[in-house]
């Protein structure tokens, strides 16, 4: 047999439960535009039944838990793809600046200086004893050396500014991993006491996503609700509630920043994701390879011209001196190449020593058609270098565009699982509102019935 008080308590619990469900709906709507928020869902279940003889009586409903709706696998994938995307973007940024200084389509790059230099010898060959023409050769040589210097300086400056960003970014990684470790601790404590950890997990996911923009990480879901994080070479960043700092040290040979694990292992060469990965790729691969091409070019031209100078005689009949001053080895040539000659008469235009002989000037101008730089003519070598740079950037741009789409699709997928839909919330709102109203109605009815019961035996009213 049921009782009025039984009905009353069922109705009261229904009121409380639907009140809570309305809270959750309200919270969902409030957080509709909160980044990283996962919608929450109230899981109702039946309360335990009462067995009265052969009759089972329900005792209302209860709320099992409030659950954040998320797909952890999707979150992990989104983070992994974000690492690649962010690496490509921070790789492309500096390279776009690099290629701006190789603006060959407009004809303002190094090519005009190289051509101008060799053409000045050709011009000199028409009047080898002319001092003004010899002066133009010196000027063209200074232009060429200057063009090499400024191209190398640009690259070195860019390399340095890329390097300067590394410590700040590593610091950001450490701050983020520290917060993740703290959240891990809170989440595992709350979960063991049965509390809802949806909000904390949302926060942690947000942090891990930010971390993914900085560096490549692997995530491992722990049984206690914590997420373990490690980076290149398996170096641990977060294990449960414990955080491991990345360290930054200066490489004694290069003077550049290195990233070390907490145990001192050098990770620099293995970090390939996030903006740190992208910047390291610019600093350690793209710029050095371009610089070494410029060095080969400058060194090849300088040595061939110096050798040809030595084979001729200057206007005063003396054996030609070095045209260019270059360092003993190839590296650093583009940065430091300068013109050694100080006087126009020192250009060795003559081969037989006569002031009017132009044979050596002709030979100097024809060096441009010889394979004097890296087994190729200077201009072929240079145009291959520029084409290589262009195709590297083109490839990275294509990859970046594809990666944007992947990330966007995963984001869409994640939102289709976890995003707040106003339609859905409106439907829930009505549903919970009606249920609340019905439960209130039951309280009202039970109240009337109780009143009737109390008044039983009293004279009719």
């Amino acid at each position: 047999m049921g009782s009025l008080s039984g009905s009353m308590s069922i109705a009261l619990s229904a009121l409380a439960n639907n009140q809570e469900a309305l809270d959750v709906t309200s919270n969902n709507i409030a957080n509709q535009n909160t980044p990283g928020y996962s919608r929450q869902r109230v899981n109702f279940s039946e309360s335990a039944t009462l067995q009265l003889g052969s009759i089972q009586l329900g005792t209302g409903s209860r709320i099992d838990n409030i659950e954040s709706v998320r797909d952890q696998v999707l979150d992990f994938r989104l983070n992994a793809e974000t690492q690649t995307q962010s690496a490509l973007d921070s790789y492309l940024g500096p390279l776009q600046q690099v290629q701006a200084s190789f603006n060959e389509a407009a004809g303002t790059g190094l090519q005009s200086s190289i051509s101008g230099f060799f053409n000045s010898f050709s011009q000199l060959s028409t009047d080898p004893s002319s001092v003004p023409l010899r002066q133009s050769v010196l000027t063209a040589g200074q232009n060429l050396a200057g063009a090499f210097n400024s191209a190398a300086t640009n690259l070195n400056t860019l390399q340095a500014s890329t390097d300067q960003q590394i410590p700040t970014l590593a610091q950001q990684v450490n701050t983020l991993t520290q917060s993740v470790a703290q959240l891990n601790l809170q989440i595992s404590q709350s979960q063991s006491s049965g509390q809802n950890t949806g909000t904390l997990e949302d926060q942690r996911n947000q942090l891990i996503q930010k971390l993914s923009q900085l560096i490549n990480i692997s995530q491992i879901q722990g049984s206690d609700g914590s997420i373990g994080l490690s980076t290149a070479l398996g170096a641990a960043l977060v294990v449960g509630g414990q955080q491991f700092n990345l360290q930054v040290a200066t490489n004694p040979t290069t003077g550049q920043n290195e990233i070390l694990s907490s145990t001192g292992k050098d990770l620099t060469a293995s970090i390939n994701g996030g903006s740190i990965g992208g910047l390291l790729r610019v600093r350690d691969q793209a710029i050095p390879s371009l610089l070494s091409k410029l060095d080969t070019l400058a060194s090849g031209i300088a040595h061939a011209v110096n050798t040809q100078q030595a084979a001729g005689f200057d206007l005063n009949g003396a054996v030609g001196q070095n045209f260019f001053t270059v360092p003993p080895g190839v590296p650093g040539t583009a940065q430091s190449i300068s013109v050694n000659l100080t006087d126009p008469t020192q250009v060795a235009a003559s081969q037989n020593g006569s002031s009017g002989d132009n044979a050596n000037a002709l030979a100097l101008s024809q060096l441009q058609n010889q394979n004097i730089t890296g087994g190729d003519t200077p201009l072929n070598f240079y145009s291959n270098t520029v084409a290589q740079l262009g195709s590297d950037i083109q490839q990275a741009t294509t990859q970046s565009a594809a990666q944007d789409i992947v990330v966007q699709q995963l984001q869409t997928q994640r939102d289709s699982v976890s995003g707040v839909s106003l339609d859905e919330e409106a439907a829930n709102l009505v549903q919970f509102q009606r249920a609340y109203q019905a439960a209130a109605r039951i309280v009202n009815v039970v109240d009337t019935l109780t009143q009737t019961a109390i008044n039983l035996g009293v004279g009719g009213t």
Partner: protein
């Protein structure tokens, strides 16, 4: 339960607008610069082609400059030789007069003096300079080709050398720009000054005038035939110059093919991007300005 869709449709609209802005910017940059390729990454192989074309084109400009300097030199040499030929003709005429047995000794002496002054004239022509360089001194062109030298049988000494200069006038094509005086004027078998000297002496003495005139005629033939060198070099310069002009036009058209803009395509691209943008904006303006809430509020 049906499949849930991403409730945040504006994300798609935004990324659509982003890529549309990018397309518009690219098309407009192309139109502004007149080039399809503005950065090496736009088309790496076309950029490499453009570098080669620019280099060739600036080399062609240099070759054209070389041609105009060299043709100045060659024309000076050619017209100088023409004056030498005229002078030699005059000397031959004087020699023929001196060879006439009827004229007096004093007339022969006058003719001999005239022949000597022709010789002086040829000497000064042989020391012609072009931009400060002695053009018949081989490539020892810093000092006069010939100086008077009483000790020498011809009365002059050649100070130049036998060097010749070559100048590049087209890719892989060089041209010789001078003939040394020792080959053109004072070769061992045909020496202008020796012949004039002989003739002057023969006219003075009246002996061997005929032989001296014959010798001078041979010298005259030699100089005339050497002079054709300059004519043929000038002809070659002209034809190379024409070739270079054509080549420059061809290079410009190659450059345009490699990195130039396809004007109609770029215009269509801009138009497409703008149309696309309006479509995205229109779609964005229409979506989701209503939700279930709007309809519920009306009923409760």
């Amino acid at each position: 339960m049906s499949v849930r869709f991403n409730p945040n449709l504006y994300d798609n609209i935004l990324s659509g607008l982003n890529s549309n802005n990018q397309a518009t910017a690219i098309a407009q940059e192309e139109l502004a610069t007149g080039r399809r390729v503005n950065e090496p990454s736009d088309d790496p192989s076309a950029t490499a082609v453009a570098i080669g074309i620019h280099a060739q084109s600036s080399q062609d400009d240099q070759f054209n400059q070389n041609i105009s300097s060299v043709s100045g030199l060659l024309q000076t040499a050619d017209s100088t030789l023409s004056s030498v030929v005229t002078a030699l003709t005059q000397a031959i005429t004087l020699g023929v007069q001196a060879g006439d047995g009827t004229i007096s000794a004093s007339s022969r002496a006058t003719l001999s003096n005239q022949i000597q002054s022709v010789s002086a004239q040829v000497l000064s022509l042989a020391n012609t300079t072009y931009q400060g360089s002695y053009i018949f001194a081989g490539n020892n062109s810093g000092q006069p080709a010939y100086v008077t030298d009483p000790a020498s049988p011809s009365g002059v000494t050649y100070q130049g050398n036998s060097g010749v200069n070559s100048v590049e006038i087209a890719q892989g094509q060089t041209i010789t720009t001078n003939v040394p005086g020792s080959q053109i004027l004072t070769s061992p078998s045909s020496d202008v000054f020796a012949a004039l000297n002989n003739l002057a002496q023969a006219a003075q003495s009246g002996n061997g005038v005929q032989a001296a005139v014959t010798q001078l005629r041979a010298v005259f033939d030699h100089v005339t035939s050497q002079r054709t060198f300059y004519g043929s070099q000038l002809t070659q310069l002209n034809s190379t110059s024409t070739y270079l002009s054509n080549n420059k036009i061809q290079l410009a058209s190659q450059e345009n093919t490699a990195i130039g803009i396809d004007l109609s395509q770029a215009t269509i691209d801009v138009q497409n991007a703008l149309t696309n943008r309006s479509a995205i904006l229109a779609a964005g303006g229409k979506i989701q300005n209503t939700s279930l809430l709007d309809f519920l509020s009306a009923t409760t």
